[in-house]
């Protein structure tokens, strides 16, 4: 399927619209904050519109994953071509975009969270120009990762996100922002280097024969997924070789840092606590998903043997993350930190689900990625609203907000309960399927993991009680309820959370074909 605007593919628009917005913002005078904000809002709004168009035109039955023909909205151009030189063969890097069931929801999520982030950024007053310019650059990076089908391109987008994030945390963050920013930066950069190495190893191991009969080395992910393309004698040739496992582990670490999975998670709480609210929203809402997305898009189909070999490790780390994240969350007194740890716990569920290599588990995991994105975004916005008003974030600093801010409390309760996995809200559905899938593959690990939902209930309710219930403190009397702008950022998320909780069918349908194909592909012939 193709869809072009002015002759340029819709995915390119999606990815590069923010860059256009960034350039416009850079040209605007820094004093004109309103214009800058509206530009950002307009650009991301347009992006959301395009994302919805993509969703509407998306063909649910197409497989994707490793089947080049069934990717949608494909844009494939030769980007870097180095003609054959005797000793290297032809080199090829593609500008190759396309989506399948795995990425379509992520695109929607990214576009949505971006808009909401902009709305939430309205209250940023310092260095507005720089802020929004970096913000939009970040959005491009995120969107790019989700649509890139060339490893090289993927990696570029992956790394493009790093620097804006560093600045966004480092300049507009809280008191320990520098520490948090550098920690984030170093961690992810470390992951990036590992990924780069694996990428190169793959590049040299994979060569396909093109129409002209030439051996072409390529970064094309789809070619890498075809085991016939591995050059005999190359480092990653074969199945279940040591080097393939090493490559798998390296890739896994690089993605696990982003997820973040225990024990690679310690950057997250710091980053979240110090980041300004909109950036926390982006971070939790989209960035963390990149890790799991990368695993599904790259690690699973390209190194299926490693995936099968290490599935218990993945599940085990997922389990640890679930329990450990929940326990840590319980110990927190900082509201934001609490949610940060809860993110670790929830992403652990994603990990557990996808490690199962079952259809339900994977679908649950991807759905959980989406749902966690919306729910945690809401939670961070909720903290942000309180912080805006009181400049406090301690769980103990509040109490009785429910009476003072009923709308706010209502929304907060929905978000909290969604995070807790209450049926009828989206979090439940994805947790359910993740666990169901996981149980199929790992019985005891899953049973232990399920205790995590009890812990989750405990810390969430405990927080609800501390913050919303009880007597209202004097200093919080007269706190205003949500403004129209704030409602605007909550309501779409609220609707999604409830809708997917009640009727997840459409969302599952979007990804089912692709993911069942992925699972079959990974399992095929190996397990």
């Amino acid at each position: 399927m193709e869809f072009t605007i002015f002759g340029i593919g819709i995915l390119t628009w999606l990815v590069f619209l923010p860059i256009v917005g960034m350039l416009i913002i850079l040209l605007l005078p820094g004093e004109n904050k309103t214009a800058i904000r509206w530009t950002a809002a307009g650009v991301t709004g347009l992006q959301l519109l395009l994302a919805v168009v993509v969703l509407a035109l998306f063909d649910r039955t197409a497989l994707g994953i490793n089947d080049a023909g069934s990717f949608q909205f494909v844009e494939q151009f030769e980007w870097i071509i180095v003609e054959a030189v005797p000793w290297v063969g032809k080199i090829e890097i593609m500008y190759f975009l396309g989506i399948d069931g795995l990425s379509v929801l992520m695109i929607l999520l990214t576009a949505l969270i971006s808009v909401i982030g902009v709305i939430s950024s309205w209250s940023i007053e310092q260095k507005v120009k720089g802020y929004f310019a970096l913000y939009l650059l970040l959005v491009t990076g995120m969107m790019g990762v989700f649509v890139a089908l060339d490893f090289f391109l993927f990696f570029i987008f992956w790394e493009v996100m790093l620097l804006p994030m560093y600045f966004l945390i480092g300049i507009w963050g809280g008191p320990r922002r520098e520490y948090a920013a550098i920690k984030f930066f170093i961690y992810t950069f470390f992951g990036g280097v590992l990924m780069l190495l694996v990428m190169l190893a793959l590049y040299f191991s994979v060569a396909y024969t093109n129409g002209a009969g030439e051996q072409v080395h390529t970064f094309n992910l789809l070619h890498m997924m075809n085991s016939a393309n591995f050059v005999e004698g190359s480092i990653l040739y074969g199945l279940n070789t040591t080097w393939r496992y090493v490559a798998w582990v390296a890739l896994f670490i690089s993605f696990a840092i982003k997820v973040p999975l225990f024990p690679f998670h310690t950057w997250l709480p710091d980053a979240h606590v110090e980041a300004p609210t909109p950036i926390s929203v982006i971070l939790a809402g989209v960035l963390l998903k990149l890790g799991t997305y990368g695993m599904l898009r790259i690690m699973y189909p390209i190194l299926p043997d490693g995936t099968v070999y290490f599935m218990y490790l993945m599940a085990f780390l997922g389990m640890i993350s679930i329990i450990y994240g929940a326990l840590c969350a319980m110990a927190q007194e900082d509201f934001k930190k609490l949610i940060a740890y809860s993110s670790i716990s929830h992403m652990g569920i994603v990990m557990l689900g996808m490690a199962s290599l079952t259809n339900q588990g994977t679908v649950g995991a991807v759905l959980q990625m989406f749902n966690h994105g919306t729910i945690t975004a809401m939670l961070f916005l909720i903290v942000g609203v309180l912080y805006d008003r009181t400049h406090k974030r301690g769980v103990y600093d509040f109490g009785g907000i429910a009476n003072q801010m009923p709308k706010y409390t209502g929304i907060a309760m929905v978000a909290m309960f969604a995070a807790l996995g209450l049926p009828g809200l989206s979090g439940f559905v994805s947790e359910l399927f993740s666990f169901l899938g996981a149980f199929d593959s790992f019985r005891w690990l899953t049973i232990i993991s399920v205790t995590g939902i009890i812990l989750t209930a405990a810390y969430i309710l405990w927080t609800v009680q501390r913050v919303f219930l009880g007597e209202l403190g004097d200093e919080h009397k007269g706190m205003a309820d949500l403004t129209g702008r704030e409602l605007l950022m909550f309501v779409p998320l609220l609707i999604i959370v409830i809708f997917l909780g009640v009727y997840p069918g459409p969302a599952i349908e979007l990804m089912n074909a692709s993911l069942s194909h992925l699972v079959d592909f990974v399992n095929g012939g190996i397990r």
């Binding site: 920690k183 170093i186 998670h265 310690t266 709480p269 450990y324 326990l327 840590c328 969350a329 319980m330 110990a331 927190q332 079952t358 259809n359 339900q360 679908v363 009785g400 429910a402 009476n403 209502g410 309960f417 209450l422 049926p423 009828g424 439940f428 559905v429 359910l432 399927f433 666990f435 169901l436 149980f439 199929d440 899953t446 399920v450 205790t451 939902i453 009890i454 812990l455 209930a457 405990a458 309710l461 405990w462 609800v464 009680q465 919303f468 219930l469 009880g470 007597e471 009727y503 997840p504 069918g505 599952i508 349908e509 089912n512 074909a513 069942s516 194909h517 699972v519 079959d520 399992n523």
Partner: protein, 688 residues
């Protein structure tokens, strides 16, 4: 009536309360009277429709199911396409339960209009009631485990919201939280059970699961897993029905408004566990059922012994509820399916009545205290009451009927069901030799009669604690009185069986035929014919015995509290521990408690104490431990993982710092290093 119509009706029944909830949440405050009429009206319609459904159901032979795809997965290896369906199943069980739920809910709605008049969050309250009703009906109507679990949790949520209705009170919000978390523990077990089922059968639907098991397809080809699945699913019931050892939340839940206690914590939600066991009955192996029976028995006994010593009118009722729920579970566990479920129905009526009655009392007490400007006296403490009979005749008489019913006095509904349960346990013990079960059952029956009459007498009879206050007590308004009267009527035998001494001939009993077990015979419970035969053998003696025990209980209460020929205080003061132990069942608990603490607490508070310091203590202890563990992991996070990272960074940094020192600034040193490097390489190379 066509099947489709039936489904449609049931859907209307399901969604009407939800509609009420939605309207009230968003617009409640702007509606006249804050919309209570709307909620009440919708529930009433639901009730009427569910009566229609019940009627239709009883007159047609087959159960009705309908399903809608909720989610679909393709190509699961070895299984193929899997469709997760939501759907509705209407059989006798659900139809009866539907009426019970709708009825109690309707009555509570009416009652609440009076009870909560002028409350801060009046419309919110009705909204939540509507939401609760919706969730409860969802549990009842579902045809699959998934939906059961979904509504199961939603019920938990509405319970949370309603218990915490007065969330400004710390105790209320604590109780709400406790209820939810304790329930979640049970739910987690249930979730695992469901996972076992789904992962093996790839379906949630009851029918499909049952037929698969009946075909000999056991989860993971093992009977142990089937038993485990059963027990784990039963965990949900343990939580929701406040069975031992997860019963601790229910007494606390009395922090919610009294009508809520009546609706949720007496009649419907807590009965959901019983409903679940009944629904899943064919799946349970004999082992699983035995576990269920013993849990029920333990609960019944434990709660009854505690109830005897309570002074808070609602707490007594709460413990009594737990005890009665234990009864039901016990009944189902032993295989007395119809008896257990029938007790659910009858209990729903009289326990709701008791709660509403207590609500009326509390309401009146509050009003009186308010007039006296007395804000210290506890309006719920029965020691502050006494003699209310004269001022609140309607309440008294209805309360009396409920008390008789729960005590198992003939001509009441309670007698019918309790009698069948006792017969069932005895029959079970004759078959299997588990004699402890009937023993407990009978004992608890006696205790029930005793403590319920104790409550009645202390509240309505005798001398008033404060005659001035008594004179200010007014009977409750009609909107509250009428539900009481209706429930009182429903607590008589006539609605369930025309034979006041035997339920088995009544329509309800007939309608609740025990479903055949699908478990392979080797580990299935005794079949119905066998069991029925055993029951027939013991039925008559049991009936006589139960009447005697009930009357004895009542009489003893009468002696102690009305006639005061035996002084309770004296008994407590005079008797030593050993002596009391030989006379009373609940001495068992006291001795147990005495191991842990000095026997310095007042006799009347020992049960309470047991709850808080032992059971709750364990939960709190677990909580403390958990918090401790979480602190430790937080510490690990900070010190170890972060520390490791920082350590590496520091190492790198310090190496850098040290290496920097090599750069001494002396060019000749540099040359020395260079020459050294040259030498190393050369020598290494030459020596290869």
């Amino acid at each position: 009536m066509g099947l489709d119509t039936l489904i449609l009706l049931s859907l209307i029944v399901l969604f009407l309360p939800l509609a009420g909830f939605a309207v009230l949440v968003f617009f409640g405050k702007r509606l006249p009277r804050q919309g209570d009429w709307l909620a009440t009206g919708l529930v009433t319609v639901s009730l009427l429709l569910s009566l229609v459904i019940l009627f239709a159901r009883l007159t047609s032979p087959e159960s009705v199911t309908a399903g809608w795809t909720w989610a679909q997965f393709g190509g699961i290896p070895g299984i193929g396409e899997v469709t997760v369906e939501l759907g509705i199943l209407i059989d006798n069980l659900s139809a009866i339960m539907l009426v019970v739920v709708a009825l109690i809910s309707t009555l509570v709605h009416f009652f609440s209009m009076g009870y909560l008049e002028g409350d801060v969050r009046y419309s919110r309250y009705f909204a939540y009631l509507g939401f609760f009703t919706f969730s409860m009906i969802g549990i009842v109507l579902t045809h699959n485990l998934l939906m059961m679990y979904i509504f199961w949790e939603l019920v938990g949520l509405s319970s949370y919201l309603l218990i915490g209705h007065w969330y400004e009170k710390k105790s209320a919000s604590n109780a709400a939280m406790k209820a939810f978390i304790v329930n979640r523990i049970g739910d987690a077990g249930m979730f695992i059970g469901i996972m076992i089922i789904f992962v093996h059968f790839a379906t949630f639907s009851f029918d499909a699961i049952f037929s698969a098991v009946a075909a000999g397809n056991l989860p993971f080809e093992s009977q142990a897993w089937l038993t485990a699945a059963g027990v784990l699913i039963f965990c949900g019931a343990i939580g929701k029905s406040a069975q031992f050892p997860l019963h601790v939340w229910l007494p606390d839940a009395m922090e919610g408004p009294t009508p809520v206690s009546a609706l949720i914590h007496a009649a419907t939600m807590v009965a959901a566990g019983v409903f679940l066991v009944a629904r899943m009955f064919p799946l349970f192996t004999a082992d699983a059922l035995l576990v269920i029976a013993y849990v029920g028995a333990a609960t019944a006994l434990l709660a009854a012994t505690i109830a005897i010593t309570q002074y808070d009118i609602k707490k007594v009722l709460a413990w009594s509820t737990i005890s009665q729920l234990g009864y039901m579970i016990l009944a189902l566990g032993v295989g007395a399916y119809a008896a257990g479920f029938m007790h659910l129905v009858t209990h729903a009526a009289f326990k709701a009545g008791l709660f509403l009655g207590s609500g009326a009392v509390i309401y009146a007490m509050h009003a009186a205290l308010h007039k006296q400007h007395d804000h210290d006296t506890d309006a719920q403490d029965i020691r502050n009451m006494g003699g209310l009979r004269s001022r609140m005749p309607v309440t008294y008489w209805t309360f009396l009927i409920f008390t008789l019913a729960i005590s198992g006095i003939p001509l009441t509904s309670g007698f019918l069901s309790k009698d069948e349960i006792l017969a069932g346990t005895l029959a079970f013990s004759t078959l299997n030799g588990h004699w402890l079960l009937p023993l407990i059952a009978f004992g608890v029956a006696g205790m029930t009669a005793f403590y319920m009459f104790r409550l009645l007498i202390l509240t309505f009879h005798g001398k008033p604690a404060d005659s001035k206050r008594l004179s200010m007590i007014r009977e409750v308004p009609g909107v509250m009185a009428i539900p009481l009267i209706i429930l009182a009527a429903l607590s008589t035998f006539i609605f369930y069986s025309f034979n006041p001494l035997g339920a088995s001939s009544g329509w309800l009993f007939q309608a609740l035929a025990r479903p055949a077990s699908v478990v392979p015979e080797a580990f299935a419970p005794a079949t119905w014919p066998v069991f029925y035969e055993a029951i027939s053998r013991v039925h008559t003696p049991v009936m006589i015995l139960s009447i005697i025990i009930a009357v004895a209980g009542v009489a003893f209460a009468w002696l102690v509290y009305e006639r005061r020929s035996v002084s309770a205080d004296k008994m407590a003061g005079v008797m030593g521990p050993l002596y009391r132990g030989s006379r009373n069942k609940w001495y068992f608990d006291e001795m147990y408690e005495a191991v842990f603490v000095n026997g310095t607490l007042a006799l009347t508070r020992i049960s309470n104490w047991f709850d808080f310091n032992v059971i709750d203590g364990i939960v709190n202890g677990a909580g403390t431990v958990t918090r401790g563990v979480s602190k430790i992991s937080g510490w690990i996070d900070n010190v170890f993982i972060d520390g490791l990272v920082n350590f590496l960074a520091n190492i790198t940094g310090s190496i850098g710092m040290r290496m920097r020192k090599i750069q001494t600034g002396s060019v000749q040193n540099y040359l020395v290093f260079g020459v050294f490097g040259f030498l190393i390489i050369t020598i290494v190379l030459l020596s290869i």
